[in-house]
Structures are given as C-alpha cells and as structure tokens.
C-alpha cells in the first residue's frame, strides 16, 4: 500500500505541474489501407520531444501554443513532416506510406529516428508480419513463433516445435495474447505449427522481462499479437497455395473509412491425399487443422470505435468411425475505444477464450469419450493519459473468471456402457488486477517508466479440493458450493525501467520486474501435448513468482542503419513447478498430489545486431546463458540444469533483395545440446533390460545446428495488373544435418544382451513450394 501511495504522489507531481496556454494534438496514425500503426513516432523538431502511438494507433501530445515542425514516422514507412500552428486543440489523423514501394530512394529512410535507443523499454523485440514472411519456413508455413525463436534469449522447446522458452522460463510461463485474448495452447499438429496465420497478423511484440504493468499472469514473457483491422479503403485478397496448407484472407470496407471487415482462413490438406486410396477404410480417415480469423471494426466517430475479433482453430484426427481426436482454441474479443478528452484515451474489452479437446472411440456399447476444457471470461478497462510530453500515464483494471474442467472420461453406450466414468474435479477461480504506470522523462537524458500491478486470485466453488499429507498421499477431500470463495492469493508486482541517453546514438537501460503466475500447465514433457491441462493455484499449489533484473547498452551505428544491443539479466523464480518421477498427469483426479515445487534461476547475456533497412536486412543474435533448478524431492534435492538450459545459442537471419524481383533469405541456428538424463547402469527384469539412470539432466544431446534457405520470385510488376503474385521455395535443413531429436537406448534386435544407443532425427532436407498472391 505504501508503495502505491508513493507511486500516486510521484504521478500527481508530474501531472499537475502544467502551465496555461497549452494545447493538445491528438489522433491516429494509419497506413494507406487504414490499419493502425502501433508504436509509430511523433517527434517535435523544435522541442526535441515526442510521443508514440499506443496499440490502437492513437497518439496525444500537449504543447505550449506555437508553431511546430511535427515529424510522423514508422519503421519501413516514409516519414511525414507537418508544420502545425498550435493555438487550439487539434485532432490530426495521419496516413503514412510504405517505403518498400520506393525502395530505390534510400534517402527517404536516412533520417530514421533512433527509437530503439531512446525508448525506455528493453528486453523487447518487435517483428513485422512482412519481416517474418521473409524467414525460410518449415514446409513453407510462415510462422510467427518460429521467427521469435530466432531472437536472443528465446529458444525452441525442441526441433520443429512451436513452444518456446524465454530466459530459462518454462513454456507455460509465456503469456500469449491474440488481440488481447489469452491463447492457452498455441500449437497445431503436435506442436509443429503455431495457431497464428501470418496473413491475418499486423504486429507482433515480445517482452522478455520488462513486461508493462498493464499485463500479468505469467512469469517469463508476453507475446502480444495484434490482428489486422481490415482494409478501410478497398477490397483486398491475400492468399497462398502451399505444400501443406492453403490460405485466403479477404478484407475490405463495408462503409469506406468507417467500417471494415477481415476474414482469414487456413486449412492443411495432408488428408486429401488419403482420398486417392482405393480402400474405403483409408479414405474415411481425416487429419487436418484449420484456422479462421474474423475481425470487424467500426468508427462511430473520431472519439468512439468498436472492434470485434474472433479466432476459431481446430486440429482434427479421425480414423474411420472408430477413433476421433480433435482440439482447438476459440477466442472472442470485443473492444470499445473511447476518447474522453484529447488527453484521455480509454479502451474497454470483453474477452472470451476457450481451449478444449475431445477424444472418442467406438460407437456401440464399448464406445468411449474423453473431454477437457478451459474457459476464461475477461473484462478489462485500460486508460492512457497524456498530461504533457514528459509523462504518459497508463492505468486500468481487469477481472477474469476462469473455469477449469480438466478431464472427464466415460463410456458412451448410455445404460449399456462397458466403461465407467472418471472425472477430474472441476474448479473456478477469479483473477483481478489493477495497475498504474507512468513513463516519465525526468531530464533530457533520463526517462523512467515506473509502475505497479496489484493482483488478486480467488479460488471459488463449485469445487472439490483433495487434501494431501506431507508425503503427498490423499487424506480426504473438501467440497465447496457455488460462489463460495475458499482460498485467496494476492501480490504486488512492481515494474521499473529506466533509460539514460549517453548521446543520440547510445543509451544505457535497466529494468526490474516482479511477476506472478496463478495458473499452471501440468506438463512434464519437453514437447508438451494437446492433452496437457491447466490448473489454478489452490490450497495445494502456491502461485509462481519471479523477480528479474536486467541492464543493457544500446548503440546504433552508421546513421542508425545498424542497431546493436547487449543485455545481461538475472531471473529468480520461486514456487516453480515440476512433477514427481513417473507422474501421472492425464486423467488423474488427484493431479495436485503429483506436483513438486522448488526454486529456479537463470542468468545470461544477450548480444544482438540488427539491420532493418537497405538491400540486406536481418540480424545476428547470440545468447550465453544458464538455467538451473533445485526442487527438494527431485534429483535427491541436488541442483540440476533445466531441460531448456542451452548455454550457447546463435541465430543468424539474413535477407537480400536481388534486383527488383528476387529475394534470397537464409537462417542459420546453433545451440548447445539440451540437457538429458542418460542410463549409466542396467538390470534384467522379465527378460528385458531396464535402464538405471544418471542424475537428472547430467548429460547433453549433441549440439544442434541447421541452415534454411528461401528464394522468392515476385511476378512482373505491370502498372495495370491488379493481381500480384510471388513464388517461394523454402529449404529446411539445407545441409541435411541429422540433428538428434531424441536418443533412444534399447536392446539390440539380434543380440538382446547388447544395449545400444541410437539418435532419432526427424527433419532431414525438406524443400517446399508456396505460391502467394495479392489483389
């Protein structure tokens, strides 16, 4: 509470120190299609100050009466300078044009601002959809999460997987927001593809530590993905035919500049091959996934705007009538932007998200069905207040109702059912948060962003909670009736970051953040599976807590053409979840008894060089890190390496524009092998050889490296041709390295007394072809 009062006092001092005769310029910055540009800069030449647009493309800046040169700019867009005579409040919407259309005129981008150096936030990286598109992709499927895995401090959970670890955190510690809706399982097809269709996405931003006070609920990172709003000017189609899937996105205005709609779909068609089979049993099998994105936004007035966006995605597996398995996410986001005054922007959201799966077998009396689902209802209000150019205040609150139905399995033969039912207890929880933060320019050189988030978590009936003794044996259970609050957790989460500009080219940044996580994924495999379930904190499971500090040096070279940074971080995590040996995590009503809790920590240094303009673009990232855990009941209480500890991690991403029509891109990645547990001894049992294992994670897989290549040929650009198309060839694993995906220890087939080790590799040289179009 005391901290909160100090924060309020600080903010009031900064807000109320204004003088008379000040006016506000506010509005939105859009691209030509009417899409809001997130993080675009407004720079006042005369005063050497400025502001940036928020996630809805809105900006507001309050200045004394006068005449100003205002520069509007955004990465990859031509900058615009306007002379403004400020003698009243002004509403000014600005449209910026993409520079790719005039790529020869290098001059245009020469004056780009050194945003990365001057902004306070650190440990973040922003990727543009078109930047992601250039990265060679597995089977030609452009994938945001695969692109993110190439950034410093981030690594894939395993080869080909779309799960990722951020600075030694587990994959369930990443908050993945898709238009503000939490996505609980971001993977398709056992994790090899992510659920995000790049064609429907506008902007992706990853926060590795310095998570704004506005967000919480996960320890390690925030992946903020924003869907496109839809073209406000004209009907537009974007699509592609690929090796494994096809995509189509349609967008356009219903009322020009007022109401637009976007519909985007993607479906894989591996199973269509099965139709070629002459056997009916084979034909009736299904194996595909699809994604459907919908978004509409309506500008009621300059002050009010409504957005509705939804996502529907599902993986479907079906083996005749006999076995079916499907899973997927649904999200719905409804938002209302309202401008109270030129200085006070607000957004109110209602968000629904659901993850569920269903497995079915048989149709008659021996039929069996297993279902699981998780639902969130979220209400949220966010306010941005722009009192003066030196302060940007954000505050708001949110409330989430979680409903967990982790597993229910039963026979489907009604009264004749051969199988009994098994149900894991359902539960409910309420998660509340309030936050207040201010980005405060203290001096010309020093900017501080300070904020505080208060979170409250309540377990609520209807629920059954098992009580366990000290050795995790179930004693009895307690049942709570509907709406009965039976357990409470709360916490304060301070967030602080500062930027000290050494000069126009370089700065030093530092940050500290505390994060709390109240829901946990019960998964002990590195790959994860669609069957994994989320559980709330409860009388048996405490919330996870992390404290992270980071310091970094940022410097740009050659007129801001090259951005470089070095960051070091230390992250301390408590109440970290692991599971007892041979834990039973599926359909186990007493699942909470399988949890084992302890501490984890990670530290490292991240080096990053990035070039975003010119013919050659890309980045090089190198991460040197360590991630360890200590959990009393695991590995005899000894410290062990986290499964995602990869000390050296390198990614090189390059893309080159060869003339007007050709683009060549390549990536190379290297990572130390992940820690694994190998057998050191063996014994015989039932005529089989059973391994005796080393300490947890005391060996390493062979080092991993791989190069991918992609070549894009754009169709000839003729002035009267509306259809534009391009052909892309992607090659995954160019030099066909047999990277070990797992190491299998077992008995030799010919001589069972001999034990052998084999590496299993799954992704050899894989070429793919994609045709993309746009009109």
């Amino acid at each position: 509470m005391k901290r909160f009062l100090i924060l309020c006092a600080l903010i009031s001092i900064s807000v109320f120190s204004f003088s008379q005769n000040k006016y506000t310029i506010s509005g939105r910055i859009n691209d030509e299609a009417g899409e809001d540009l997130i993080g675009a800069t407004i720079y006042i030449e005369n005063l050497k100050t400025g502001s940036v647009t928020n996630v809805y493309g809105f900006y507001s800046i309050t200045l004394p009466k006068g005449i100003y040169q205002v520069v509007y700019s955004y990465m990859g867009y031509e900058l615009q300078t306007k002379e403004i005579t400020l003698n009243k409040n002004l509403s000014l919407n600005v449209i910026l044009t993409e520079t790719t259309k005039t790529i020869e005129e290098v001059v245009v981008t020469a004056e780009r601002k050194n945003e990365n150096v001057v902004k306070t936030e650190m440990s973040t990286t922003k990727l543009l959809a078109r930047e992601i598109k250039r990265i060679p992709a597995l089977m030609g499927e452009v994938d945001i999460i695969k692109a993110i895995q190439l950034l410093p401090g981030i690594q894939a959970t395993g080869e080909g997987f779309s799960g990722f670890n951020v600075r030694g955190g587990s994959p369930d510690q990443n908050l993945i927001l898709f238009d503000e809706a939490t996505v609980y399982n971001a993977s398709h097809l056992m994790g090899f593809f992510s659920v995000f269709n790049n064609d429907a996405i506008k902007d992706v931003k990853l926060y590795k530590g310095d998570i704004p006070a506005q967000y919480g609920g996960r320890l390690s990172s925030l992946l903020d993905i924003r869907m496109k709003e839809g073209n406000q000017k004209k009907l537009q189609a974007t699509g592609g035919l690929g090796t494994v899937s096809s995509r189509l996105t349609l967008e356009g205005p219903i009322i020009e500049d007022k109401w637009s709609v976007l519909v985007s779909g993607r479906r894989t068609y591996v199973d269509l091959m099965l139709l070629l089979s002459s056997e009916d049993a084979v034909k009736s099998n299904k194996l595909y996934f699809y994604d459907l994105n919908l978004k509409t936004n309506y500008k009621i007035s300059d002050k009010d705007r409504i957005f509705v966006s939804g996502y529907l995605g599902r993986d479907v597996f079906k083996f005749g009538d006999m076995f079916g398995f499907d899973w997927g996410n649904n999200t719905l986001t409804t938002r209302w932007n309202h401008l109270f005054t030129e200085k006070l922007f607000s957004n109110f959201s209602f968000i629904y998200t659901r993850y569920d799966y269903k497995m079915e077998s048989g149709t008659d009396a021996s039929g069996f069905m297993w279902t699981s689902n998780l639902e969130d209802y979220k209400l949220k209000a966010d306010f941005n207040y722009y009192p003066n150019p030196d302060n940007t205040i954000k505050f708001g609150l949110e409330a989430i109702h979680h409903h967990f139905n982790p597993g229910f399995a039963r026979g489907t033969g009604d009264s004749t059912a051969a199988y009994n039912s098994l149900k894991m207890p359902e539960s409910n929880a309420l998660e509340y948060a309030v936050y207040l933060s201010n980005e405060h320019k203290l001096t010309k050189k020093l900017t501080v962003n300070y904020g505080l988030r208060g979170s409250l978590f309540l377990n609520m009936g209807e629920a059954t909670v098992y009580n366990f003794d000290d050795s995790y044996q179930k004693i009895d259970s307690t049942t709570y009736s509907s709406w009965d609050i039976f357990n409470t957790f709360y916490g304060l989460e301070p967030r602080l970051s500062l930027n000290y500009s050494l000069n126009q080219k370089s700065s030093i940044k530092a940050s500290y953040s505390r994060t709390k996580q109240y829901v946990h994924l019960a998964s002990n495999s590195t790959a994860g599976s669609p069957l994994d379930v989320w559980l709330p904190s409860s009388p048996n499971i405490d919330p996870q807590v992390a404290n992270q500090a980071a310091i970094g040096y940022f410097r740009n070279f050659f007129n801001n053409e090259y951005e470089t940074s070095v960051e070091v971080y230390y992250k301390d995590m408590n109440n970290q979840i692991d599971f007892k040996d041979h834990a039973e995590l599926m359909l186990n009503p007493e699942l909470e008894g399988e949890f084992r809790v302890g501490d984890a920590w990670s530290y490292g240094a991240e080096f990053f060089i990035r070039k975003q303009q010119g013919k050659l673009t890309g980045w090089i990232s190198y991460t040197l890190s360590k991630a360890e855990r200590k959990i009393p009941e695991i590995n005899s209480g000894k410290v062990y390496s986290s499964s995602f500890d990869r000390p050296h991690n390198i990614a090189i991403v390059g893309s080159y524009d060869l003339g007007k029509r050709w683009i060549i891109s390549a990536t190379w990645v290297y990572a130390t092998g992940s820690p694994v547990t190998f057998p050191t001894g063996r014994y015989e049992q039932g005529n089989m050889i059973v391994p005796i294992y080393s300490d947890r994670n005391s060996y390493r897989m062979p080092d991993y490296h791989r190069m991918d290549l992609s070549i894009t040929l754009k169709g000839k650009d003729k002035p009267n041709k509306r259809l534009k198309s391009e052909l892309n060839v992607s090659i995954y694993n160019l030099y066909n390295r047999h990277n070990a995906w797992m190491i299998y220890f077992g008995q030799d087939e010919d001589d069972p007394t001999v034990t052998t080790a084999e590496t299993v590799y799954v992704f050899p040289f894989i070429p793919s072809l994609t045709w993309n179009f746009y009109f």
Partner: protein, 286 residues
C-alpha cells in the same frame, strides 16, 4: 485406453523419423542387487532370482548372485529358499493364501534386503473367445488370408471393489508365450470396476493353428506392481522421447537400494482349443 492415446499420438507424428547409431561415453555406476521373485496361491516351488546390475554398455548377461540366504514369511511361518542353480532360489512345494502379506528377506554380501507384498484375491473367469483383424481393410492386397495372430477375448465379471489390478499371461500348448515383460497385458479397473467384461482383449498368440491348446492365466496383482511394470515399459518400449516426462528409475519394492520387485499374487486359468476359422470373431480397427 492409455495405449490407444499413445498410438494416436504417434500416428499424428507424420514426419519420417530415421535413426542412426550413436556413440556415447557413459559414466560407470555402482552395483545394485536386483531381485525378481514371487509367491502365488498355486501349489508349487516359488522362485526368487538374484542378479547384480551392471554398467549400461556392459553387454553381457546379468551376473548371478550366489550364496545368499533367502526366506519368505507369511507372519506365522517362514519358508527358507534353497539355491537350485546359480542365483535361483526356490521354496519347497507350498501355496500362498489370498489376504496374507508375504515378506521376503535376503542376506547377501553382508547386507539385508526386505520386501513385503499382499496376496490379493482373484475373481474367476467365465470363458474366452478368439479374435482376429482383417488386414485387407488397410492394405491393398488380394489375399484374403486371415492374420495368424489370434487375440484372446475374455468374458468375466469384474468385482465391484475398486482398486483391482490384473495381469494376463498366455500359454500355447503349455508353453508360456508371454515370457518377456513387454508381452504381458495388464490393466487397472478404473473404467471397468464392477462391470461385466464382454470379449475384452487381454492377450495374443502368434502363429496359432486350429486345434492348438490355449491357456489364459489371469493374475490379481498389487497396485505397486502394476505401477512398477508400467514404469518399466515407459522407460523401455513405450519411450516417446520429447513427448514423455523426464526418465526415472522404476520404483520397485525392495529395501536398502536394491532394484526389482517381489510380488505375491493369485491366479485363475482357463483353457480352450482354437476352433475353426468361422468361429473367430472379427475385431474392429480401433
């Protein structure tokens, strides 16, 4: 049910996986006593085998542990075991009784190892049938030949007490077919407790011919043993790499750091002659 999940998970894993020999140096580890022993309600000489563990790439049969002093006690009587061959210890011809708890005691190399296990009651079986899969559903072939692998289908009433665990062995012409641990079928009663099991698949025999004598043996085992063999399977033939949790040693029931298991169980058997093909039941693919 669990196998079904595993199969479906693996089927979804469509990309072609290839293997390559992997040369790795592994640390050495200390030697542990390994016990494999049981007592049942059958009237016979019950066996306990003692071996030593070895380094993983030792690549020779497990060393036998000789000259140990082994006994089994039911709380009232103690049965001493005699070493009949190297590392194999046997009781006299006796039978265990359901409801009793049996304790195994081993003195070897100056150390004492103990283990105890309750002998559970086994419900009777009613009958067995034979089933087969028609492969032509899935393969383009003109052959109408039925697969010669026959599946044993059990009919029995599962008792209404929850927490029963079963293991099935199969004999063809009095020879044990399921002589390796991964050929055993085992199950809990979570989904079938108190139900009548109609033609539930519990074992299989390869290359079976008409007129062969098939004996199905059902054992009522303990929860600890069910977990133990599940864990052994998870660490060996069921290994799914990154889709599995971290590897760990199976939890046996022998004290003092020894590996292995001492099981007490009761047995029911049923014998049938393989009938003509017309009487085989075609099984559905799931």
């Amino acid at each position: 049910m669990k196998n079904l999940i595993y199969i479906s998970l693996l089927l979804t894993f469509l990309v072609s996986a290839c293997t390559e020999k992997y040369d790795v140096e592994l640390d050495r580890t200390y030697v542990r006593l390994v016990v494999q022993g049981s007592i049942s309600d059958e009237l016979k000489a019950h066996q306990v085998s003692l071996t030593h563990s070895a380094d993983y790439f030792s690549n020779s049969p497990a060393p036998k542990v000789t000259d140990a002093v082994v006994s089994i006690s039911d709380g009232e009587n103690t049965f001493d075991l005699t070493e009949v061959s190297d590392g194999i210890y046997e009781t006299d011809t006796i039978s265990g009784e359901p409801g009793k708890t049996y304790t195994l005691t081993i003195y070897s190399d100056g150390e004492t190892y103990t283990s105890s296990c309750q002998l559970n009651y086994c419900a009777p079986m009613d009958s067995i049938n034979f089933g087969y899969y028609d492969d032509s559903d899935y393969y383009d072939s003109d052959t109408t030949m039925k697969d010669t692998t026959l599946y044993i289908l059990l009919n029995a009433l599962e008792p209404s007490t929850p927490g029963d665990f079963y293991l099935w062995n199969v004999y063809k012409n009095e020879i044990l077919e399921s002589d390796t641990l991964h050929e055993l079928y085992f199950s809990d009663d979570v989904f079938i407790n108190g139900n009548y099991m109609y033609d539930i698949m519990v074992q299989w025999v390869e290359d079976a011919s008409i007129e062969d004598t098939i004996t199905l043996e059902m054992q009522a085992i303990t929860e600890e043993y069910y977990n133990y063999i599940t864990q052994v399977m998870t660490e060996t033939v069921w290994n799914m790499g990154p889709f599995d949790g971290p590897p760990a040693n199976p939890t046996g029931n022998i004290s003092n750091g020894a590996m292995g298991f001492f099981l007490a169980y009761s047995v029911e058997t049923i014998t049938a002659i393989v009938p003509d093909e017309v009487d085989w039941i075609e099984l559905e693919w799931y």
